[in-house]
Amino acid sequence: MTASKAFAAADGDSRPSPTMASDTVFELHLAARSRTLKIVRAAVTALGEDAGCSLKATEELVSAVDEACQNVIRHAYKKECDGRIVIKASCEGDRLVLRVVDFAEPVDPEKIRPRPLDELRPGGIGTRVIRACVDEVAFETPQQGAGNCLRLIKRIS
């Protein structure tokens, strides 16, 4: 599936913002539900491939964005079904920049830490996957009306 097809298949408000920066590749508006993760992966795969990323780099980017969306669904929205996620993808020089935006209550970034690996238990792996799979990850101040914005940066390699 191409990014444009994935965009058209988005579940929820799929209208792009009235203004879009010139380096924007896509802006995906999705219902914050687990079944839409497949659409996210298809779009990010197309993004990585089109930008010239290696298979490994593309897979890493897909994992990072999928896990970020998963965190929004599970933790920010606490699995409530009426939330929205917006994914903004842009190509800035030799970097792909992905922003995962939600409209939930702001989270405390200090509380989002990967669990120690010597504790064998389900949970807490997603944050570690995100950090390992992209070059930079940080929360940034969200646009007005949004709850949280996680920015992921992956160098094209």
Binding site: R35, L37, K38, S63, D66, P122, V129, A132
Partner: protein, 113 residues
């Protein structure tokens, strides 16, 4: 939206080989968890054949951790076979490649812990 994950259960003596095909994510990882716990609750060893897995996320890995822990508690064997590179990457990040028994072939008579 179509199903992403297919699971096939093949029973050999005391071992169930659970063959996965497709993508394991938050939407379907609960099914994997349930299938693992079902087999282990019947006092069976479990081997997951992952050759057909195109993608797995942390929720799928969490289901496997739960299966592994349940197996250990019950004294049953638990292993993964034919893990694709993309899935190995996630296992390495979580340092689970040192925890799970990883096999090259889905042999129901595997020697294991």
């Amino acid at each position: 939206m179509g199903r992403m994950l297919e699971m096939r259960r093949d029973r050999h003596a005391n071992t169930t080989i659970l063959s996965l095909s497709g993508e394991v994510d938050l939407h379907v990882s609960g099914e994997l968890r349930q299938a693992l716990l079902d087999e282990l609750s019947q006092d069976r060893d479990v081997l997951i054949d992952m050759e057909g897995v195109g993608y797995i996320d942390s929720s799928g890995i969490a289901s496997m951790i739960e299966g592994f822990q349940r197996a250990r508690k019950a004294g049953r064997r638990f292993a993964l076979a034919r893990v694709p590179e993309s899935a190995m990457r996630v296992l390495r990040i979580a340092q689970l490649d040192r925890v799970f028994l990883l096999l090259d072939t889905p042999d129901p008579d595997f020697e294991g812990r």
